[in-house]
Amino acid sequence: MNYLPPGSYSMTDTSLHTSVPRTTLRRAALALSCLLALANVSCSPSSDRAPAQGSSITLLKSSRIDERTWSAFGGFGQYLVFLRLFRKDETDEQQPRLAERWEHSPDYRTWTFHLRRDVRWHDGVPTTAHDVKFTLELLAHPAVLHPSAFVLNIESITVLDDFTLTITYTRPMSLESGSIAFYPKHLLEDLDPSEFFSWDFWTDPVGNGPYRYVRHVPKTMMEFEANPDFYKGKPKIERLVLKFGPDAGLLELLSGNVDIVGIHPSQIPGLGEDPRFRVYYSESNITWAHGIFWNQRHPLFRDAVVRRALTLAINRRELLQVLNYSPDLPIFDVIYTRRQYLQRQLPEPLPYDPELAKQLLEAAGWQDEDGDGVRERAGAEARFTLIAHRGGTFLGERAAVYVQDQLRRVGIRMDVQILDGSVMTERVRFAGEFDAAFYRTPRAAYRMLRWNLFGEGSRMGYHNPELVRLLREAVDMGADPEVEDRIYRELWDIFRADLPITFIRTQIGHVVAHRRIRGLSSPWRAEPNMNMEDLWLEDVP
């Protein structure tokens, strides 16, 4: 549930993310090192750590997650204990996990999975196709209605033998949504599904993954040890602790209580230049593209030239840095497929060119005649309100502050209104009550269609039949990667000409880890799940 997919990672020096002037940094670092020296001295005897047995690391999770919710709701933690059918690797290929291999029908609706035969639950019982079917049915059970089940679109499941099953979907599916972990049928089938989220099973789970449950302290931590029977062999790090800490994990990290924290980018500067840690980011969850939605019913945004001018006026490179994003991330003006993004096959974005932006605005009739710094046309001021999310993963507040200043420089007055998530959803997607919104769009064609961003009755006042046609085509034929890429390239021209959305960024996760933890890389492009069994520890001087 935490947005942060602690992914993995090649090293990025922390200083890349913190471009604070050097003098300040030095002063801060000096102060900080004094503080930490003190902290180390007085803390070490009564340290927060449990007695160490072999190699051990501690991961911090937001305390909204606790021993009961950590796995029942999914989220990365459960993959330590429970296996999925497959996962994606660095090259964006599906890597076998519980499933050894799989095939699909020509229409991509029916998939057959062949399971490994050497996977056992931690209590010794073999994991079979019955467990898979049981789990899928359990999650969709009317008394459970697990959030993960909302996206399954399953029509039927047939177990062919103990290690083979076929799943028929209601529509063509790619293997992308493989986030479900499977649970042991023999332990759960007699439990009451209506109490699914309260089962004691979650507090001392029996899984089949690389780590197995050892103990927990209520509302505090959960401890796991390496599973010697893991099908890939015993993981290298012997002991893992999930600590359920505060939202602001930075203090825990700096106090030396934890080794890995999924971190909100706004906290990255808080690390200063602490040599103990490295920041990694994960590019895996690129399902979403964030940007400014221009509502074309607003007179200012009706004109594509103005939208182009506004895009030119925003220094998106600097904005990303303000948001503490890595400077080597791409800037884009179009919607893309996963492959296109990861291989950086994106068209050249519009540059940052405020002078050109001003010219375009002048040409479009927006001129500052009364000299108050705000342009107007036919008596109407170039003024609008941008709505953005409060806090959280959207970074809306921060981006809005920056964009407001950028637009002011080209004579556009932007007011900002910060709203709660559900209000944002209501206003942007259902009511269309906004001038401009800092929001996100799904990358996948079928979702864009479902959202009806560009169709008839578009909530952002942008109806483009050609775009809709291409999206439909992508849904029908896009299960084939080649075809999908081609259709998307056709979409690019429309996006670049019309600029209905000025894209700012994709969704990136940030993780801070202690230097002794190796095997992480940045950018991590596989799935947003910790590949804990591949990590190892190395002592640092």
Binding site: A28, R390, V416
Partner: protein
Amino acid sequence: MRERNSDNHSSVLRLSLIPGLGHLVLGERRRGVHLLAFAMICVLILTSTWERFLEAFQGSAIDHWIASLFLVACLLSLSTFSVRDVRRLVTLGDERVQSKSPLRIALRRFQANRLAVWSLYVIGALYFIAILTPLLTPYDPSAIEDVLETRYLAPSTAHLFGTDEFGRDLFSRAMYGARVSLSIGLLAMLIAKLVGTTYGSIAAYFGGVVDNVLMRIVDVIIAFPTFFLMLMLVGVFEANLVVLVLILGLTSWPGTARFIRGEILSLKEQEFTESARAIGLPAHLIIVRHLIPSALSPVLVSAALAVAGMIGAEAGLSFLGLGIRPPTPSWGNMVSAGSDALLVAWWVAFFPGALLTITLIAFSLFADGIRDALDPKALMQRFV
């Protein structure tokens, strides 16, 4: 002899057009110095911000306009007050006896309380600065310039309170934050007191079933922990500035309602109300006349405390991200933003919090001062 005197008077009066000078000539040093100092501060602000002052009358920003106008109004009213006061002094001459009205006595007692007077200065200065913010801020509070170079600058002469994550000047933002916090506090308090007084009066005036129903409603509202109630409301409604003021005000009136109702009911029962009614005077007139002095002290004290309470509550909500939302600065959300970078940039969270603390302390000291000054129980009454 008499003519000479009046000659003297008119020259003193002319002199006192410059606030305070007349007083100084007449030997009223304390008041003279105060007036003069205040006037000089105004003039200083006016001259040092002359260009911005003029801008106000061209641009369209209403707060800027108000600030400039306020500054002028301050100077004018200082002069007028100075002249009038000097005229009063010279005409009264030696006969200025110290007035014995309870209000005067209270005022004198208040003046004797140094802490309370200082807290009043602090509050006055805060509101003064808050109104003049558009003239005074050294930087545009939302201007961003070379973020990567200017963010998280430590406090220095260029940036008294340092800069924040966007390189915005925290001193300027704190001033704008003061505006938000202080006006919310004042407005919400006014709403609470207004609603509470009206509600309590209605309950007491009608009595009977109406009173009973109204008071049961008060019981219900009082049963909620106020902060929880505020939390729920800001969560449920989109909290912009107006809504937030309403929420703060409308969750905090029941105490006042109870108090006013109690006062009125006890006045209703007293003899003079009965006798007034007997001679045909409307009872509510009598009640209002007696209510004001008896309720003045508790209402004033609780009003001062309520402003502090509202400012504190707003800061708490904003700290949790539920009150005033960025980019509008408020002390609470500034502390919240600063808590991200507590270790590398302590100043971001420290200064707004410190200002908030100073403000709250000033209000409670001020309330304490009023309470002592208006305490109806003169110390010695019982024994002598």
